[in-house]
């Protein structure tokens, strides 16, 4: 027991941001557990034999490994995956456990935490590092391979399947869902508060633990819809035709609700840094959404823009438009041209990688920025200190990709 606790202290020393989670685990000694395992209620089951034959520093790695299963919510995610894909049974359980281990093991070891001898890595199956459990499950078959690892068992905390030695939801010292969320939240906030200490994998987890990223198609759709449908743009009261209810109130002219289809202007960053495939998928998405909002095809126009803005082309002719450009970007000229055009747009959608100056004043229409994510260190040969400006606060920003 003392050895196990010393290992926990070791883990806390080298991973201080995980301290709250490590200390929240309740240790249960049990001889029927193969090695060390966790359940969904934050109990940690430990085999005394395993502790006796494992060095302290390796045990510290096991502690961090097991707590990672819980922090990353592998049991709920594993159950969800099994339900969606209809995959149950012991073989599948093992597959989920292995995939969850892949997700953890590729980035928690090193830096004061030696990797235990038996740790499975994605490279065993020639898979890339840094994927999520679900992605490993989708891509890898793991048949044949699984037989060698049948001893591997991280408990229901890793895959959501109940084990005979587990105390279950009503047993002593379990954490309720709210308590588990509170611990995970505190760890995530700790990592976000001192971002220098934690590696990338943990920082990404902290950012997404309570706000999982949404698919950009839905977000872009919702943004375009709300911009095009806001009062005063797509739909408003009009006296051009009387309301159908006027018959009921003779003598009163009621306005009727009329839809004037919104004009959407898409400003496309055609500088060398954005790939054609990215642009193509985003452009098609915008066109489809604006049609769904009630826009006619001739009301959606496209401006391709690098350092200077091209001519606004209606989408009906733009389907096979060659997006000319390359080199530096200045989206300001694209915005200016969009606003100068004969029919002023109701919505401007800018598709860009963000490495551009932005207009200093808010344009008189709703603005959506579809942002292709780029690594933080932008490359600029002439000015190595160049940091691209963030999109202005008046724009809805949707990260694409």
């Amino acid at each position: 027991m003392e050895k196990l606790l010393a290992a926990r202290l070791h883990a806390v020393k080298v991973r201080p941001y995980l301290a709250a989670a490590l200390f929240a685990l309740h240790v249960v000694e049990d001889r029927s557990v193969p090695t060390m395992a966790v359940d969904a209620h934050w109990r940690c089951y430990v085999s005394p034999g395993f502790v006796a034959r494992t060095p302290v520093e390796e045990l510290a790695g096991v502690w961090v490994h097991e707590v990672s299963h819980l922090l990353r919510d592998h049991h709920a995610r594993g159950e969800r995956y099994a339900r969606e894909h209809g995959e149950q049974g012991p073989g599948e359980r093992l597959r989920r456990n292995i995939a969850a281990d892949f997700e953890i093991n590729d980035d928690i070891y090193g830096d004061g935490l030696p990797r235990p001898a038996g740790a499975v890595l994605p490279s065993l199956l020639r898979l890339p590092d840094g994927l999520l459990m679900e992605e490993y499950l989708r891509t890898a078959s793991m048949t044949g391979f699984a037989a060698d690892l049948a001893w591997l068992d991280c408990g229901s905390g890793a895959d959501g399947q109940h084990r005979p030695w587990e105390l279950g939801p009503d047993g002593a010292h379990g954490l309720s869902r709210q308590q588990r969320d509170a611990v995970r939240f505190r760890v995530a906030e700790g990592i976000k508060g001192r971002p220098g200490e934690a590696p990338d994998g943990w920082r990404r987890w902290a950012d997404e633990a309570f706000h999982p990223p949404q698919p950009w198609r839905q977000l872009l759709g919702a943004a375009v819809r709300s911009a095009a449908g806001a009062p005063g743009v797509g739909e408003n009261h009009s006296y051009r035709r009387p309301s159908r209810r006027s018959a009921g109130v003779p003598g009163v002219l009621l306005p009727s609700l009329r839809r004037t289809p919104p004009r959407v202007c898409v400003v496309i960053d055609t500088s060398g840094s954005v790939s054609d495939a990215e642009l193509g998928s985003a452009l098609l998405e915008v066109a489809a959404i604006s049609r769904a909002v009630g826009g006619r095809r001739d009301l959606v126009s496209v401006i391709s823009c690098d350092a200077a803005a091209g001519v606004a082309v209606p989408l009906c002719r733009a389907e096979n438009i060659a997006l000319v450009g390359g080199g530096g970007t200045d989206l300001r000229s694209g915005f200016a041209r969009a606003l100068r055009s004969r029919h002023r747009p109701d919505v401007i959608v800018a598709l860009t990688d963000g490495q551009t100056p932005w207009p200093s004043v808010q344009p008189p229409c709703r603005t959506i920025v579809g942002l292709f994510p780029r690594p933080a260190h932008a490359v600029n040969e002439r000015n190595p200190d160049y940091i691209p400006e963030a999109p202005p606060p008046w724009a809805h920003v949707v990260t694409i990709g």
């Binding site: 301290a19 929240a24 685990l25 309720s176 709210q178 990223p213 009163v252």
Partner: protein, 427 residues
């Protein structure tokens, strides 16, 4: 048999039961229809069983607290069924209004021209459902399909939800408002909720439980035991809620008002003075009804958003920690939390209290608390507090006898240090 023979058709002799009609030699159509009725009534005969239901408890409390609730859930998930159960259990008449098929004037009132508009003005007549609600004086108003209503209708609904006015009609205090919306993922042509409207609601995610659905289709539906307010606990509940929210906002003033900034959080709950007031009300109601922390978490996160809600709950956990001064006053019988991270937090609070007013007796009492913690729990939790307490020592203070009993702590700490050093050296 064609399908039309099963479908209801005009029956000449109505109001007779299947057996009576069969015995009287009624027409073949009538017999089929009666048999279909029998089958339907058999299908609809289900029983219920008691089963705790956190989301229904949360909904009940929010409705009791007279805060507008917004249920987010996929279509067909049982939102309406839950409301029907709630209305029945509270004996409230249920009025359902599908927001997306109405016009703004249905909620702001329809102008009626009288004899002399210049003198009498033009009254804004409310729709029939509102008149009936007011006449009943109480009821549950269910605004369905809120997110698919156009922005103009949403704007008109603001007034219904906030001011409780429909046209010229004021809804009586006995009327409770619940709305439902489909999440953006499944609303094919949905609009997003504007932040002002979103801020007025308590957002609850409505999810189905596989077991409940399977068992329900098998004939046994759950019956939740709904929380009841305990009269004796009311003053205590208000005091607790005020202390919790005020103490928390004093520590985190930046969370008082924060508009949703990222695209993912639009249309959901966000913190503002209004929603903090809602959270305070919900905390008081939850405490007065003695509901679990899970239900409180659903409610608080639904009112002020996930992040601020979780922080408030963490603050509640810290409020549950034993008071460091009372631990110092009587170390021998100190009751420390069982959970490791909370226990360490309590011990650190004790050390901080000693550090705030360093006196020899308090310092020694601090060691006594640590000894007590060692007797009731694991030693590794004590390493950090013991180090901090040792650092508070003044030159003329002698190390108390009790410290010798903390050797186990030193052993664990040394062992961990050696192990860290081994890894460092092995690199």
């Amino acid at each position: 048999m064609t399908f039309s023979t099963v479908l209801p058709a005009p029956v000449p002799a109505a109001g007779t039961s299947a057996s009576a009609r069969a015995g009287a030699g009624a027409s073949a159509t009538g017999t089929h229809l009666a048999l279909a009725d029998d089958l339907l009534s058999l299908l609809r005969t289900t029983t219920t069983e008691p089963r705790p239901d956190e989301q229904l408890e949360a909904l009940t409390l929010a409705v009791a607290a007279d805060l507008p609730v917004l249920l987010w859930g996929e279509p067909g998930i049982g939102k309406t069924a839950a409301l029907t159960q709630l209305a029945a259990s509270r004996d409230l008449p249920l009025t359902t209004v599908i927001a997306s098929v109405h016009e703004p004037s249905d909620f702001s009132g329809l102008p009626i021209v009288g004899d002399d508009p210049a003198v009498r003005g033009v009254p804004m007549a409310p729709p029939q459902w509102a008149v009936e609600l007011v006449r009943a004086g109480r009821g549950l108003l269910f605004l369905d399909e809120l997110s698919t209503a156009t922005p103009a209708v949403q704007a008109a609904l603001l007034r219904v939800v906030l001011e409780r006015r429909v046209g010229a009609l004021q809804l009586p205090p006995g009327v409770r408002i619940v709305a439902a919306a489909n999440p953006r993922a499944s609303a094919a042509d949905g609009w997003e909720l504007s932040p002002p409207l979103a801020n007025r609601f308590v957002h609850l995610n409505w999810v189905h439980d596989r077991e409940v659905v399977v068992r329900g289709l098998g004939g046994v539906w759950p019956r939740a035991e709904l929380p009841r307010l305990v009269p004796e606990r009311l003053p205590e509940a208000v005091g607790f809620a005020r202390r919790a929210v005020c103490g928390f906002l004093e520590a985190r003033p930046t969370l008082i008002h924060r508009l949703p900034s990222t695209e993912t959080r639009r249309g959901g709950a966000w913190p503002s003075p209004r929603s903090w007031e809602a959270a305070l009300t919900l905390l008081a109601f939850g405490t007065a009804a003695s509901v679990s922390r899970e239900v409180l978490a659903l409610l608080v996160r639904g009112a002020v958003g996930d992040g601020p809600g979780l922080e408030l709950l963490a603050h509640l956990d810290r409020m549950d920690l034993p008071d460091p001064e009372s631990l110092l006053a009587d170390p021998a019988s100190a009751e420390l939390p069982v959970r490791g991270d909370l226990r360490q937090a309590a011990l650190e609070a004790v050390v901080a209290a000693v550090g705030a007013r360093p006196e020899r007796e308090r310092w020694e009492a601090g060691w006594a608390v640590l000894v007590r913690a060692l007797e009731t729990g694991t030693p590794d939790l004590l390493v950090a507090p013991a180090k901090a307490l040792a650092a508070l020592r003044r030159d003329d203070w002698e190390v108390p006898q009790a410290v010798e009993r903390l050797t186990a702590v030193v052993g664990v700490a040394d062992r961990a240090d050696r192990s860290v050093a081994r890894v460092e050296a092995g690199r």
